[in-house]
Symmetry: C2
Subunit: 393 residues, 2 copies
């Protein structure tokens, strides 16, 4: 017997994911797969399941955080040290296309489910592991959380203001980028398997992902030997490209084009700045970026962010407000892009969360998502689909 | 005649990417595809090509920044308004699997290369567009840069310290996450095409990607109505999970587990903190996070970060240093994971850059990458492969 496809239409229609992941990096990855049409069966350890079920905020005792990462998945509670549960798990693997886990390296081998062993038994099963430090290397067995890899991976050293205490990126980009790289690897492995029949293991480390997104900081260091530091809301090699104070807050202006400077000076009512020798070229403006900011803000503080945005947009200057989360979720463009979707859950009620940023011409982009699986909700259904007898347990 | 596969082995072996992208989001996406074994033919506008070629730092006049995003790709300079160049471009498309572009929406339609038109002529061609605001919605035609979407998408509002001026994430996560989501969409579309023969368009907006990575900030707002703000290097709902001052800098401690608190108090030589009523449970510690930080730092400032890390690691506490970019690139684990690769380029010499975080059991992970394509270096080779006569141009 084989498992039914997901009810969500998408390019991964028919793909079955057995999902051992917890908290964030792994669940984010499998959420992306679910949004692409894969059926995701979340296998959780008794008695409590994914510890994210215990992370607030809560609504009627149910975690809104867990909901935002696991809506539309199915849940099966299995103790992989118990033989009956192992049999069920292996019956699932026999039907699955992908196994995803984000345990610390070594845990799956101890359970007898390391890659070599699984690959021998289930040769079409793609195996993806997302971990803090990866399956190899001297730190492999160390525990990691997002904060640790943001710090160790260099991102924290280039974020914030010079001389100020360290700051983390406000969302867990250490986990999330690892989840995205894992999702890329899984999809590429699915393509490879479709071409050749061969399955593979995917090993993604959160720390590696942080190194991979350091971007121009690495090029600057490699080319010049100078160690990049934090520079607030500025860009290291473009000016003006920063947040500027206005009468009632800040406005972001990202005038990367050489043609933008004259347009900006005119919007500010300061045409004399166009040919000011301190600011004439990009190189001049980067060299005199402090003076440039002082001159710009001398004009900008005379009016509100909203009024400046009208003028800046009319001049086709790349600009924007610094939106808080409430403003983001209310933004008409964000709404028009269907980037706020909702669930209608028996416990949580109607809850909004982020949508899927991968818009595909071949498939609809649903405005709602499936509800949140209570722990082990799928047991009877999955056993029936697998043709297994439901035991007294 | 068909184009040869890439020399890089990987799951996308045999895939041909025609790459119209510039600067960052698109080139980052196609770099990921190249690392997975796709052959990437970068089509650039004369006379200067990708403007990132003009972005520093430079080595012998060649951009190290451009190199870090475009190593191993091929270059063809085409003016898509000229008929001879259009013919060559269309001959390429006839052989290609994927077209990627990151123009502002509308540019491809003006050139006669919109999705509908291309899909009619090249039904197997997958078309991926990464843009600031996406192909639809009221802001669709507006210009955007990373700084703008970090601000408008909410990430800036939750990054940095309360009351301090705004800060940007130090790398361009607005571009990079859009590049990653685009790469996921492309790989999923390749899988779908392998199953059904059908190609599709992929539409990814940088702003949408920022909303998608806001993570628990959305859940907090949706569940409580409270608008999350910046909280420095802390986590909103876990404590201790922050950067703490030591004698010579900072140490990050991410003690998310309930069992970690006692272990940490002992490492600090402060067993009395274990049962201090202010800190007994996670809820207590989050409620009294300022007092907790004061108590912890009272001990931590007595010794160096390096010495504390030895003790914290011995107690299996998740912890780490705040590495700068030089320290990241020198880290033995980062090296062991092959996350620093190099090119040996005729102009740039030997240059280090970030490696590929997607490690695959079926393929080697090369320690080097191909050199940087000078503008239009591939013209004769590509025309020969396509069976076209090289004109006098």
């Amino acid at each position: 017997m084989s498992l039914e496809p997901s009810a969500v239409a998408g390019p991964l229609q028919g793909i079955i994911v057995v999902d051992l992941t917890r908290v964030l990096a792994g669940p984010y990855c499998t959420m992306v797969l679910a949004d692409l049409g894969a059926r995701v069966i979340k296998v959780e350890m008794p008695p409590d399941g994914d510890i994210a079920r215990g992370v607030g905020p809560f609504i009627n005792g149910s975690s809104a955080y867990f909901a935002s990462l696991n809506r539309g998945k199915e849940s099966l509670s299995l103790d992989l040290r118990e033989s009956a549960d192992r049999s069920l798990f292996e019956a699932l693997l026999a039907e699955a296309d992908i196994l995803v886990e984000n345990f610390r390296p070594g845990v799956m081998e101890k359970l007898g489910y390391g890659w070599e062993s699984l690959h021998g038994r289930f040769p079409r099963l793609i195996y993806a592991a997302a971990s803090g430090f990866g399956q190899t290397g001297p730190y492999s067995r160390r525990p990691a959380y997002d904060m640790v890899v943001q710090a160790m991976g260099g991102l924290m050293s280039i974020t914030g203001h010079p001389g100020a205490p360290p700051t983390r990126v406000g969302s867990s980009v250490g986990d999330i980028t690892a989840g995205l790289f894992t999702a890329i690897g899984i999809n590429a492995a699915l393509y490879h398997r479709a071409q050749t029949g061969e399955a593979m293991q995917i090993d993604v480390a959160m720390l590696d992902g942080q190194v991979a997104i350091l971007e121009n900081a690495i090029a600057r260091y490699a080319a010049t030997g100078q160690v990049p530091g934090p520079i607030g809301a500025r860009h290291p090699s473009i000016a003006p490209f920063a947040a500027f104070a206005t009468k009632d807050g800040h406005v972001v202006i990202a005038a990367a084009g050489e043609e933008h400077w004259a347009a900006l000076a005119n919007v500010l009512g300061r045409p004399e700045l166009i040919d000011d020798p301190r600011f004439r070229t990009l190189t001049d403006r980067v060299a005199n970026v402090d003076a440039m900011q002082v001159e710009m803000e001398a004009s900008l503080v005379a009016d509100t962010t909203a009024n400046w945005l009208v003028r800046l947009e009319a001049a086709r200057l790349p600009c924007g407000p610094i939106n808080n989360v409430a403003q983001v979720l209310a933004d008409p463009h964000v709404r028009a892009r269907n980037m706020v979707v909702s669930i209608d859950d028996p416990t949580l009620g109607r809850l909004e969360m982020a949508g899927n940023p991968i818009k595909l011409s071949a498939f609809a982009d649903p405005t709602t998502r499936g509800s949140v699986p209570p722990l082990d909700e799928g047991r009877a259904r999955l056993m029936a689909e697998l043709g297994l007898k439901v035991s007294g347990a």
